[in-house]
């Protein structure tokens, strides 16, 4: 991979893949829902929608139209600390997409009418994904409120419908000026491209976007919880109870190895049919499902602080303490003796092949390379992770287990109910 920074501060990441039949192009901005102001929950995501509503030379709706009429797809997503805009297109459409991305980075156009319409669309999205369905948004919209204390970390990133309605055009313009600057972005191009030619095109389209400083990042640091914090979440559509456990992850910037050990630990606990908690809880009907993961949206998709989570759904007959107790016992065992060597090698092999397969998808590779560059200054993680994971040792997994066992945590109980 090759990186270069333009005079205006835009970081460019080139990932030549000569044998790929398609090109992935992504722009990652260093702004996510942890950057949005109090009183405006959901604003970062709402703003993401506005990025498709027209810019200086691209009318509303034309971004999608041009990409799709070129035989490609486009979309975007808002995460904790970044928002990524991505396209997957036939190689011949590279310059067209660079033009479209540059135009909205240079001069987005925001109108009151478009804002109002997208507020309504986002509200429909929240109904579809959260409020109208059982277990919608569980636990990611609610668990942070139990595990964390400061607004950026604790609030629901999907946001509140009323707060969304209060968003103004002026606020949108200020948000754009503060966060959507070239110096606050990483442009990733992954595909069968000649790097020199691609760079020429990048300079042509992005080179004259004026530099201006981005707003500082939000302050995310807060002390880990002491002891156990408890919360309840009522879900009117859910037929069965559920429970989510949240822990703090180690900072990957400080100790990537420790972070990777947590990834392996998640897999050992609940990553497959033979994982410890699956064997223990699913097979006897204590829970109907259990899973564990690093990060609400996957490993290394946020800066510190990030969350290690376990989620289980269970019949009403299961005692509320059954899941946390079982987790504690398995963590104790792993902390005391570490995983069995074979268990460990299977877990790391599977983690490794899963990543390998995942990064065989050109769009996933493009998006993760950009996110890793922006969040961790390590775009090469897309190639390195599959080889780093098998190096995780039993000792480091035992250490990770011990850390979780002795750290504070959040326990969020989902109470089903009400609506038939």
């Amino acid at each position: 991979m090759r990186t270069e920074t333009l005079d205006n501060g835009l970081r460019v990441l080139l990932d030549p893949r000569p044998n790929s039949p398609v090109t992935g192009i992504a722009v990652h901005y260093d702004v996510g829902f942890r950057s949005e102001p109090e009183g405006r929950t959901g604003f970062a995501h709402l703003f993401e929608h506005l990025m498709f509503q027209g810019s200086e030379n691209v009318a509303r709706g034309e971004h999608f139209r041009h990409v799709q009429a070129s035989g490609g797809t486009a979309n975007a997503a808002t995460h904790h600390d970044h928002t990524d805009y991505h396209q997957l297109v036939p190689p011949g459409a590279l310059e067209r997409v660079l033009f479209l991305e540059a135009d909205r980075m240079r001069a987005l156009r925001i109108s009151a009418e478009n804002l109002r319409t997208q507020v309504a669309v986002v509200q429909e999205e929240i109904r579809l994904q959260v409020t109208n369905r059982p277990y919608g948004g569980f636990p990611w919209t609610v668990l942070p409120g139990v595990l964390y204390e400061t607004f950026p970390n604790a609030h629901n990133g999907y946001g509140d419908l009323r707060e969304l309605e209060r968003a103004t055009v002026a606020e949108c313009e200020a948000f754009f000026a503060a966060h959507y600057t070239p110096a606050n972005a990483v442009l990733t191009i992954s595909g069968p491209v000649d790097p020199d030619h691609a760079l020429t095109l990048v300079h042509r389209h992005f080179g004259d976007i004026p530099a201006h400083p981005a707003a500082p990042r939000p302050r995310l640091a807060e002390p880990p919880p002491c002891g156990e914090r408890r919360g309840e979440h009522r879900d009117p559509h859910a037929p069965l109870p559920a429970v989510a456990l949240g822990y703090r992850m180690p900072d990957p910037a400080a100790d990537l190895g420790d972070y990777l050990a947590h990834m392996v630990l998640a897999r050992l606990l609940a990553g497959g049919d033979d994982a410890r908690l699956r064997r223990r809880l699913v097979h006897d009907g204590t829970v109907t499902s259990v899973r564990a993961s690093c990060g609400f949206f996957g490993p290394l998709q946020a800066r510190d602080p990030d969350t290690f989570l376990l989620v289980a759904h269970h019949p009403p007959t299961t005692a509320p303490e059954a899941v946390p107790s079982a987790v504690d016992e398995e963590l104790d065992r792993l902390a005391a003796t570490g995983p069995h060597p074979r268990e460990l090698s299977h877990a790391t092999a599977r983690a490794s092949t899963a990543l390998c397969r995942s990064y065989d998808e050109p769009l996933t590779r493009t998006r993760h390379a950009g996110a890793f560059a922006l969040l961790h200054a390590s775009p090469n993680l897309v190639t390195d992770l599959p080889t780093l994971l098998p190096q995780v040792t039993a000792e480091s997994v035992a250490h990770a287990a011990k850390t979780l066992r002795t750290a504070g945590r959040a326990v969020l109980t989902l109470i089903p109910g009400g609506v038939p």
Binding site: V22, E56, T73, A76, P90, A107, V121, T131, N132, G136
Partner: protein, 559 residues
């Protein structure tokens, strides 16, 4: 304010390369099993996907689900082999077919194939494993039934095909009555290689892969002794559809990492705000529905947890201006009589059913008290994929609602904010080719959204797709063909899709050519012939009191 900026023009497209079909071997073994192997060495891994037709059973989808769930329960050394190979392996039920999917390192591929072959020809489905499967599947039913889209799909089936249509999900009683004996009987007397499909894609030599499959699977006897005459009906060209995709339909909305293989579920765990919009394995004819094969194979591009080999595939963050472009349309039925009514343990020979035809039944409102959003699902008869008119219909459908630049998306979502997701999709329901219109909208705006959909249908006939619209749709389909096949999992999904429709892998090349030949006149005729509002029937599922005062009689035959 600022100086007048230079006018910047949209760059032209560079001339593209034609989509190259990868080196591929397509073989039918003497016992009738079809094996397609393609070389795609992008990563040192292999995808192994299978579909095996299952005969009808009195227990409907319940029996097949337990069969799938226990397929590898007694496979010797499986844990160790799969662990060493970094492999994932799962089985599920999809459209009355058993679906098996695995991904593994290329080095371990032959061993894993042997393991799968061993299970197909010799699985014992131990009593305890079956009991466990029944318990687990039963526990998952409640949460699945509570999903609005499952409710809506079930309601749509009953509304359009009558009350005796097989239910989308098995019921508790039928599941409880499933016995290990019946599972073994279904497997060893009913499951046969004829009509079954194997797709192998990855860092492999296609000829060697097919040879290995031949050796591993040639002992699978070609004839079935299942006392059931109609097994063949779901075997061939056909029905992608499904009981399992009931599952995939549901699961697609959930990004829960990996429930275990064959599981009905984990829909309840869906905590993801939004599936990714990455291109799905795509047969060109159906970019919108193409995610389905990955439902049980767990493509990393796919959010399906069913048998997902990817526990690391994570919930997606807040997505996107664009919902997943691949909503799951309702799925076809398991080819069985109603499981609730038949004696579950009886060997009930069933006669081949005549193909079901949807009845035009208007639009019904189905109550879901407490809902804050309504599901709108409308269907009309479409065309089979091998019909000469299918390409034109595909383009007309795309312009109407098949991609984000479509008329429905613009009118309903981008101009009026009435929905986040709205789509038009060509797919099958109960083996019938249909056009699906599908949207979710807040309760008090439901009539407005339905009215807008109706207006766009009328406008499609009055102002048929323009040259620009048609070309955009054409280019989109063509691009999706290459994009969807750009990963091993994507290519495996695309190939499986084609084979299930009885099409040749070559369709990946020829369908874009066919699209290129479609004239504007043909597209206009398709638009006029297939989208008259009076052809549509369907359901609106939502809060009954909120919908009571709204008028949905817009699709009545009065036009």
């Amino acid at each position: 304010m600022t100086p007048v900026p230079p006018v910047r023009e949209l760059p032209a497209l560079e001339v593209g390369r034609a989509f190259p079909l990868p080196p591929l071997v397509d073989a039918v073994l003497p016992n009738g099993l079809r094996v397609v192997a393609a070389r795609a060495p992008s990563v040192p891994m292999v995808e192994l996907w299978m579909r095996v037709p299952l005969p009808e059973a009195a227990e409907g989808p319940a029996l097949a689900q337990v069969l799938a769930d226990t397929l590898f329960a007694d496979a010797e050394g499986a844990d160790d082999l799969l662990g060493r190979a970094g492999a994932t392996l799962g089985a599920g039920v999809d459209g009355g077919q058993l679906s098996v999917s695995a991904s593994m390192t290329a080095a371990a591929f032959p061993e894993v194939l042997d393991l799968v072959a061993g299970a197909l020809t010799g699985a014992a489905h131990p009593d305890r494993a079956c009991e466990h499967a029944v318990r687990r599947l039963t526990a998952q039913l409640g949460p699945l039934r509570a999903q609005p889209r499952i409710l809506a799909q079930d309601a749509l089936r009953r509304h359009c095909y009558g009350p005796d249509v097989p239910p989308l999900l098995p019921d508790e009683q039928t599941l409880a009555a499933v016995t290990a004996d019946r599972v073994r009987q279904l497997h060893h007397q009913g499951m046969r290689p004829r009509g079954a499909l194997v797709v192998l894609v990855g860092d492999l030599d296609p000829t060697a892969a097919v040879n290995h499959a031949t050796t591993a699977l040639s002992t699978w006897p070609p004839t079935a002794t299942w006392p059931c005459a109609s097994a063949g009906s779901s075997a061939s060209a056909g029905s992608l559809a499904s009981a399992g995709s009931l599952v995939s339909a549901q699961l697609s909305e959930s990004a829960q990492p990996s429930a275990s293989a064959g599981s009905l579920v984990s829909a309840q765990a869906s905590e993801s705000p939004q599936p990714s919009a990455s291109p799905q394995p795509s047969a060109p004819a159906r970019p919108s529905a193409s995610a389905r094969p990955s439902a049980s194979a767990g493509s990393s591009a796919s959010p399906h947890p069913l048998a997902s080999p990817h526990p690391l595939a994570s919930p997606q963050p807040l997505a996107s201006p664009q919902p997943s472009p691949h909503p799951r349309p309702p799925d076809s039925a398991p080819p069985a009589s109603s499981p609730g009514t038949a004696a579950p343990s009886a060997l009930t020979p069933t006669l081949p059913l005549p193909p079901r035809r949807m009845r035009s039944a208007g639009v019904a409102v189905v109550g879901r008290p407490g809902a804050v959003q309504s599901q709108i699902m409308l269907v009309a008869p479409g065309l089979p994929r091998d019909d000469p008119g299918f390409a034109a219909l595909s383009l007309a459908n795309c312009v109407l609602g098949g991609f984000f630049s479509s008329r429905l998306t613009v009118a309903v979502r981008e101009e009026r904010g009435l929905a986040y997701r709205i789509d038009a999709v060509l797919d099958e329901l109960l083996d019938e080719e249909l056009v699906f219109l599908d949207a979710d909208t807040r309760t008090d705006a439901t009539e407005a959204a339905v009215r807008q959909i109706r207006d766009e249908l009328l406008r499609l006939a009055e102002r048929p797709p323009s040259a620009a619209e048609t070309d955009a749709a054409r280019e989109f389909f063509t691009g999706m063909t290459a994009l969807g096949a750009a990963s091993q999992a994507g290519l495996a999904g695309a190939l499986m899709n084609l084979l299930q429709y009885g099409l040749s892998p070559d369709w990946l090349r020829t369908f874009p050519q066919r699209l290129a030949e479609v004239t504007l006149g043909e597209v206009a005729r398709a638009a006029q012939e297939f989208y008259a509002p009076s052809r549509f029937s369907g359901v609106i599922v939502g809060d009954p009191s909120g919908l009571a005062s709204q008028d949905f009689d817009l699709f009545a035959r009065r036009q």
